[in-house]
Protein backbone atom coordinates (compact mmCIF):
# COMPACT_ATOMS: atom_id res chain seq x y z
CA UNK A 1 0.00 0.00 0.00
CA UNK A 2 1.38 3.37 -1.04
CA UNK A 3 0.08 6.40 0.82
CA UNK A 4 0.70 9.83 -0.73
CA UNK A 5 -0.14 12.81 1.45
CA UNK A 6 -0.23 16.44 0.33
CA UNK A 7 -0.95 18.94 3.06
CA UNK A 8 -1.77 22.56 2.36
CA UNK A 9 -3.94 25.29 3.85
CA UNK A 10 -5.06 23.11 6.73
CA UNK A 11 -6.27 20.28 4.48
CA UNK A 12 -4.84 16.92 3.57
CA UNK A 13 -5.20 15.38 0.12
CA UNK A 14 -4.40 11.68 0.25
CA UNK A 15 -4.04 9.05 -2.48
CA UNK A 16 -4.10 5.36 -1.58
CA UNK A 17 -2.61 2.79 -3.93
CA UNK A 18 -2.67 -0.98 -3.37
CA UNK A 19 -3.83 -3.39 -0.71
CA UNK A 20 -4.13 -3.23 3.07
CA UNK A 21 -3.73 -6.72 4.46
CA UNK A 22 -2.08 -8.67 7.23
CA UNK A 23 1.40 -8.07 5.81
CA UNK A 24 1.28 -4.28 5.76
CA UNK A 25 -1.43 -3.05 8.15
CA UNK A 26 1.13 -1.85 10.69
CA UNK A 27 3.03 0.00 7.98
CA UNK A 28 -0.24 1.58 6.82
CA UNK A 29 -0.96 2.82 10.35
CA UNK A 30 2.52 4.30 10.42
CA UNK A 31 1.99 5.94 7.01
CA UNK A 32 -1.28 7.60 8.02
CA UNK A 33 0.08 8.84 11.36
CA UNK A 34 0.47 12.42 10.02
CA UNK A 35 -3.29 12.37 9.36
CA UNK A 36 -3.97 11.59 13.02
CA UNK A 37 -2.45 14.93 13.99
CA UNK A 38 -4.68 18.02 14.47
CA UNK A 39 -2.80 20.04 11.83
CA UNK A 40 -3.88 17.53 9.15
CA UNK A 41 -7.31 19.24 9.15
CA UNK A 42 -9.96 17.92 6.80
CA UNK A 43 -8.94 14.81 4.91
CA UNK A 44 -9.88 13.98 1.33
CA UNK A 45 -8.80 10.48 0.39
CA UNK A 46 -8.78 9.10 -3.15
CA UNK A 47 -9.45 5.36 -2.90
CA UNK A 48 -9.78 4.60 -6.62
CA UNK A 49 -6.61 2.47 -6.54
CA UNK A 50 -7.26 0.75 -3.20
CA UNK A 51 -7.72 -2.88 -4.24
CA UNK A 52 -8.41 -4.62 -0.94
CA UNK A 53 -8.71 -4.16 2.80
CA UNK A 54 -8.92 -6.73 5.56
CA UNK A 55 -10.40 -6.07 9.01
CA UNK A 56 -6.93 -4.81 9.98
CA UNK A 57 -7.33 -1.98 7.48
CA UNK A 58 -10.87 -1.26 8.67
CA UNK A 59 -9.49 -0.81 12.20
CA UNK A 60 -7.12 1.85 10.90
CA UNK A 61 -9.92 3.70 9.08
CA UNK A 62 -12.00 3.65 12.28
CA UNK A 63 -9.05 4.99 14.30
CA UNK A 64 -8.58 7.74 11.73
CA UNK A 65 -12.29 8.61 11.77
CA UNK A 66 -12.24 8.83 15.59
CA UNK A 67 -9.19 11.14 15.49
CA UNK A 68 -10.77 13.34 12.81
CA UNK A 69 -14.14 13.51 14.60
CA UNK A 70 -12.56 14.42 17.92
CA UNK A 71 -10.87 17.46 16.35
CA UNK A 72 -14.14 18.39 14.55
CA UNK A 73 -12.73 17.89 11.05
CA UNK A 74 -14.07 15.84 8.15
CA UNK A 75 -12.83 12.67 6.50
CA UNK A 76 -14.09 11.78 3.02
CA UNK A 77 -13.18 8.60 1.12
CA UNK A 78 -13.73 8.93 -2.62
CA UNK A 79 -14.06 6.65 -5.65
CA UNK A 80 -13.94 3.39 -3.75
CA UNK A 81 -14.02 0.19 -5.84
CA UNK A 82 -17.34 -1.69 -5.50
CA UNK A 83 -15.73 -4.75 -3.87
CA UNK A 84 -14.02 -2.63 -1.24
CA UNK A 85 -17.14 -0.53 -0.74
CA UNK A 86 -19.05 -3.75 0.01
CA UNK A 87 -16.68 -4.46 2.91
CA UNK A 88 -17.39 -0.99 4.30
CA UNK A 89 -21.13 -1.58 3.76
CA UNK A 90 -21.47 -4.94 5.49
CA UNK A 91 -19.50 -3.79 8.52
CA UNK A 92 -21.57 -0.62 8.89
CA UNK A 93 -18.49 1.53 8.19
CA UNK A 94 -20.36 3.27 5.35
CA UNK A 95 -22.61 4.76 8.04
CA UNK A 96 -19.80 6.21 10.13
CA UNK A 97 -17.31 7.24 7.43
CA UNK A 98 -18.32 9.52 4.56
CA UNK A 99 -17.87 7.72 1.23
CA UNK A 100 -18.50 9.66 -1.98
Amino acid sequence: MDVTINQSEGKSLVVLNGRIDTTNADQFLNDINPLMQPEAGDIDMDCSNMDYTSSQGLRMFLMLQKAVSSRKNKLVLRNMKPQVKEVFDITGFSNIITIE
Binding site: T22, S70, T91, G92
Partner: protein, 136 residues
Amino acid sequence: MKKLFDPIKDKSSEIIEWLMASPDMPSDDGLLFKIRLSIEEAVENVVRYAYETGNGWMEVSTDLNHDTFELTIELRDAGTPFNPLDRPDPDITLAAEDRPIGGLGIFLCKQLMDDIAYRYENGCNILTMKKNINID
Protein backbone atom coordinates in the same frame (compact mmCIF):
# COMPACT_ATOMS: atom_id res chain seq x y z
CA MET B 1 -6.03 -30.55 -1.30
CA LYS B 2 -4.56 -30.51 2.15
CA LYS B 3 -1.37 -29.13 3.66
CA LEU B 4 0.17 -29.05 7.11
CA PHE B 5 2.04 -25.94 8.19
CA ASP B 6 4.33 -26.33 11.19
CA PRO B 7 5.30 -24.01 12.74
CA ILE B 8 2.79 -21.31 11.77
CA LYS B 9 4.34 -18.33 13.53
CA ASP B 10 4.59 -15.43 11.02
CA LYS B 11 3.38 -17.77 8.25
CA SER B 12 -0.01 -16.15 7.55
CA SER B 13 0.88 -14.99 4.05
CA GLU B 14 2.33 -18.34 3.05
CA ILE B 15 -0.78 -20.19 4.27
CA ILE B 16 -3.18 -17.72 2.62
CA GLU B 17 -1.31 -17.88 -0.71
CA TRP B 18 -1.23 -21.69 -0.65
CA LEU B 19 -5.01 -21.80 -0.17
CA MET B 20 -5.66 -19.18 -2.86
CA ALA B 21 -3.49 -21.14 -5.34
CA SER B 22 -5.67 -24.24 -4.94
CA PRO B 23 -7.21 -25.50 -8.21
CA ASP B 24 -10.53 -25.59 -6.33
CA MET B 25 -10.68 -21.80 -6.36
CA PRO B 26 -13.04 -20.05 -8.80
CA SER B 27 -11.78 -17.67 -11.49
CA ASP B 28 -14.37 -14.96 -10.82
CA ASP B 29 -12.68 -11.89 -9.31
CA GLY B 30 -15.64 -10.94 -7.11
CA LEU B 31 -15.81 -14.42 -5.57
CA LEU B 32 -12.03 -14.57 -5.15
CA PHE B 33 -12.09 -11.25 -3.29
CA LYS B 34 -14.66 -12.55 -0.78
CA ILE B 35 -12.93 -15.90 -0.37
CA ARG B 36 -9.49 -14.32 0.11
CA LEU B 37 -10.79 -11.90 2.72
CA SER B 38 -12.53 -14.70 4.63
CA ILE B 39 -9.43 -16.91 4.47
CA GLU B 40 -7.19 -14.07 5.63
CA GLU B 41 -9.37 -13.29 8.64
CA ALA B 42 -9.71 -16.95 9.66
CA VAL B 43 -6.01 -17.81 9.16
CA GLU B 44 -4.90 -14.68 11.02
CA ASN B 45 -7.09 -15.64 13.97
CA VAL B 46 -5.33 -18.98 14.30
CA VAL B 47 -1.79 -17.70 13.65
CA ARG B 48 -2.17 -14.87 16.16
CA TYR B 49 -4.24 -16.40 18.91
CA ALA B 50 -4.48 -20.21 18.81
CA TYR B 51 -1.16 -20.99 20.47
CA GLU B 52 -0.06 -19.20 23.61
CA THR B 53 3.60 -19.48 22.66
CA GLY B 54 2.80 -18.46 19.10
CA ASN B 55 4.23 -21.74 17.86
CA GLY B 56 2.13 -24.66 16.74
CA TRP B 57 0.72 -26.25 13.61
CA MET B 58 -2.23 -25.70 11.34
CA GLU B 59 -3.63 -27.99 8.69
CA VAL B 60 -5.61 -26.34 5.92
CA SER B 61 -7.60 -27.87 3.10
CA THR B 62 -9.82 -27.01 0.16
CA ASP B 63 -12.47 -29.21 -1.39
CA LEU B 64 -14.78 -28.54 -4.32
CA ASN B 65 -17.94 -30.53 -4.84
CA HIS B 66 -18.19 -30.70 -8.64
CA ASP B 67 -21.92 -31.43 -8.58
CA THR B 68 -23.03 -28.59 -6.32
CA PHE B 69 -20.06 -26.22 -6.92
CA GLU B 70 -19.74 -25.87 -3.18
CA LEU B 71 -16.23 -24.93 -2.09
CA THR B 72 -15.22 -25.99 1.42
CA ILE B 73 -12.22 -24.52 3.23
CA GLU B 74 -11.18 -26.13 6.49
CA LEU B 75 -8.66 -24.96 9.09
CA ARG B 76 -7.53 -27.26 11.87
CA ASP B 77 -5.25 -26.45 14.81
CA ALA B 78 -4.40 -27.95 18.19
CA GLY B 79 -4.33 -24.66 20.07
CA THR B 80 -6.44 -23.42 22.96
CA PRO B 81 -10.06 -24.54 22.45
CA PHE B 82 -11.83 -21.48 21.08
CA ASN B 83 -15.06 -21.07 19.16
CA PRO B 84 -14.75 -17.78 17.24
CA LEU B 85 -18.45 -17.97 16.34
CA ASP B 86 -19.40 -17.58 20.01
CA ARG B 87 -18.37 -13.98 19.91
CA PRO B 88 -21.39 -11.68 19.54
CA ASP B 89 -21.60 -9.82 16.22
CA PRO B 90 -20.48 -6.19 16.41
CA ASP B 91 -23.25 -3.59 16.61
CA ILE B 92 -22.87 -2.05 13.15
CA THR B 93 -25.38 0.71 13.91
CA LEU B 94 -23.16 2.45 16.49
CA ALA B 95 -21.65 5.89 15.81
CA ALA B 96 -17.89 6.09 15.16
CA GLU B 97 -17.19 7.39 18.69
CA ASP B 98 -18.90 4.35 20.19
CA ARG B 99 -17.61 1.64 17.82
CA PRO B 100 -14.95 -0.49 19.47
CA ILE B 101 -11.75 -0.95 17.45
CA GLY B 102 -11.69 -4.54 16.25
CA GLY B 103 -13.97 -7.56 16.43
CA LEU B 104 -14.66 -7.49 12.70
CA GLY B 105 -12.67 -10.40 11.30
CA ILE B 106 -14.94 -13.36 11.94
CA PHE B 107 -17.99 -11.15 11.36
CA LEU B 108 -16.68 -10.54 7.84
CA CYS B 109 -16.27 -14.31 7.29
CA LYS B 110 -19.87 -14.85 8.39
CA GLN B 111 -21.10 -12.19 5.98
CA LEU B 112 -18.97 -13.15 2.98
CA MET B 113 -19.23 -16.95 3.10
CA ASP B 114 -22.45 -18.95 2.75
CA ASP B 115 -21.82 -21.04 5.83
CA ILE B 116 -19.27 -21.15 8.65
CA ALA B 117 -19.13 -23.78 11.37
CA TYR B 118 -16.85 -24.64 14.29
CA ARG B 119 -16.29 -27.90 16.10
CA TYR B 120 -13.79 -29.19 18.64
CA GLU B 121 -12.73 -32.73 17.88
CA ASN B 122 -9.86 -34.94 19.09
CA GLY B 123 -8.12 -31.98 20.68
CA CYS B 124 -8.44 -29.81 17.60
CA ASN B 125 -10.25 -26.60 16.70
CA ILE B 126 -11.86 -27.12 13.30
CA LEU B 127 -13.32 -24.20 11.37
CA THR B 128 -15.20 -24.98 8.17
CA MET B 129 -16.25 -22.31 5.68
CA LYS B 130 -18.42 -22.98 2.64
CA LYS B 131 -19.13 -20.92 -0.48
CA ASN B 132 -21.12 -21.76 -3.57
CA ILE B 133 -18.91 -20.73 -6.50
CA ASN B 134 -21.39 -21.35 -9.31
CA ILE B 135 -21.88 -17.91 -10.84
CA ASP B 136 -24.41 -18.96 -13.50
